[in-house]
Symmetry: C2
Subunit: 381 residues, 2 copies
């Protein structure tokens, strides 16, 4: 087990009665609330109305239009528009993209330079960070209980990560009912995203982390066991709740306590979706089995444990490994997602640049070579 | 899954380099530090020296002598002695008893009434709570990452619980090396205490908490798998680390998220040790299998799951249940602890009073009847 620090200040308010607590949770921070959301689905499914009703006693302004794979351009726009409003609190209503975008907005509102600085410079310090909370409408990224944010710069096709001590949500409202109207494909992507988050922290060569391993395996099994029921019946509270709790626990510092991490799959996917605007988890689904194949010698022991404990595999080590990889692929396929980049009309045109960028950056627990990255990408076509 | 809130502000600093961070962790709170500890073992094993070295730049006073099953009398004494010192911060160096005692001291230093009020009144509000941190020297109670405290009033043989939002440690230093010198019996008690904490939150009839169940099972399995090695080799860093992390996770609000809870075993034990000053977990070891026997019809389904997943049992349901109970008992026995109250020279003299108190209070997920409690106690003799 590696040395580690574990501290997560976000308050999770989970369940069917959690929406009623919004006002009391915001009140300590002031009266002026900026509401942020995405493409407007919350206006169709009734969540917007419910939130607004809770904010009766506040002065509210709103910024809609934070897109999937949120862009720095959008955050620049929001900042210009609401700087003078001087919000006391920002309430993000949405999934990971809205939350990630809000993290950058909350960080950069009182910063004189460009918001993109937070992604590329180490010494950026705003005058203050605006506290923010979340009403989660999509189980996927875990952004509701961590301080990370992934932002895209479409001009130069960069998709980068930032996080600060101050970018944990103050609270996150997790009402499984708010995910009932999430369409089938987005539900599947959410499950795959959470599944991949676990793999990034679990499929490593850290020794002697039996509890962390079992926590990870618990999340993987819960995601698998609840996926069929939620796709068949989107209003199944129990499955929605189990997936919501699992996705939250998949990326909140818990399972990475004292372990190595990998993140090669996410890094490759960020490059793909910085060039082609495909859903993040659509990329993850395609890349994950090819990545597993690439690291199967290096991470042999963990792949066998994964095969045995997640997929109940028995037999020779090498058989278990191959079957573990194909079981992962079959699971994603069973959720109805595309399993190759060509199905997304993506060809190898930008691969050379992507490989160069990633190899220079160094990705993976044991950094992958340019050849390995190239092979993963080619196998994804 | 029940509705729940999850929020734990304590910062865990885990590992072999964590002691070096004490000064920087305390500094934001001020210069005057009150050091609290127990019977003085930290002066023999070198931990005291290491802590004092870290506090070179602070004004330090110390209060030793917080006993196992910490008593309100002791906290009253500490309060009188250090009120005028007006500490900015309290650093508890010890196990659960020292931490629990420190929680009451930190709460009652600026309270005009008697410290015991915190245990028996609901409307107690001190002028302020003193922030405190922990250097953990014993893996057991989880008090290092929760806000609970159990205090004994020896005058009237009461052992009660309290907790406030403000009684979470600011930080807890978890260096497995600080537990190397814990004797065999105390090590065993620590494992049993953590094991019992999990059972209190896991052995319940909550439906649809698959992830919480697997988190709990992960802790139980890790405790079991690391117990033999740690008893054989007390300086085994890996086993000490796994047990330390497990005990911490066993009672930090995580596994109880959205589940019912039981706590009958702990309630019975608190009565026993309020009359007879035996180690808390010595009582738990004796009571747990008898409690399991008493609730085996009511919690059938969970006992079977426990038997299958923890003890790899197969066969008829009733066989699994009986074997699950005896496996639990055998496990405790294998740690070298006494498995009956008579071995502790405890007879049934006070049982009537204990049964009356507990039946009035109502203990257990489904409250146990006086007859059930009485039977559990008699079976413990």
């Amino acid at each position: 087990m590696n040395n580690f620090e574990l501290n997560n200040p976000t308050k999770i308010v989970f369940g069917s009665d959690s929406m009623g607590k919004i006002a009391e949770l915001i009140r300590p921070f002031g009266n002026k609330v900026l509401l942020t959301y995405g493409g407007g689905s919350i206006k169709k499914n009734g969540i917007y109305e419910k939130v607004i009703k809770q904010l009766n006693d506040f002065e509210v302004k709103e910024f809609g239009g934070i897109e999937p794979n949120p862009r720095v351009e959008t955050i620049r726009k929001a900042r210009e528009e609401f700087k003078r409003f001087e919000p006391d609190f920002i309430l993000a209503v949405g999934g990971g993209s809205v939350i990630d975008g809000t993290k950058l907005l909350a960080s950069s509102m009182y910063y004189l330079g460009d918001p993109w600085d937070f992604l590329i410079k180490n010494d950026v310090e705003p005058e203050k960070y605006i506290p923010f909370g979340v009403v989660l409408t999509l189980s996927a990224t875990g952004s509701e209980m961590n301080n990370g944010s992934v932002i895209t710069n479409w001009e130069n096709h960069e998709k980068l990560f930032f996080g600060r001590e101050q970018t944990y949500p103050i609270f996150s409202i997790l009402d499984p009912q708010n995910t009932f109207s999430v369409p089938k494909d987005q539900t599947a992507y959410g499950i795959i995203d959470a599944f991949s988050h676990v793999l990034e922290q679990y499929m490593v060569n850290s020794k002697n982390t039996p509890l962390q391993d079992r926590f990870s395996e618990g999340i993987l099994l819960t995601l698998i066991e609840n996926s069929k029921s939620v796709l068949e019946n989107p209003n199944d509270y129990v499955s929605r709740a189990n997936i919501m709790f699992s996705a939250c626990m998949a990326l909140n510092n818990l399972i990475s306590s004292g372990t190595n991490q990998d993140w090669a799959t996410h890094n490759i996917e960020h490059e793909i979706s910085a060039f082609y605007d495909i859903p993040h988890a659509a990329g993850l689904a395609v890349i994950t089995p090819r990545w597993m194949d690439a690291i199967k010698e290096n991470k042999k022991e963990k792949l066998i444990q994964y095969g045995k404990r997640i997929w109940n595999l028995t037999g020779e080590d090498n058989q278990i490994i191959e079957k573990a990889i194909s079981s992962t692929s079959d699971f994603f396929k069973s959720l109805g997602v595309k399993m190759s980049l060509s199905e997304w009309d993506i060809d190898s045109k930008n691969f050379d640049l992507i490989v160069k960028r990633l190899a220079e950056k160094g990705i993976g627990e044991t950094p992958l070579s340019a050849e390995q990255i190239s092979k993963i990408l080619m196998n994804c076509l």
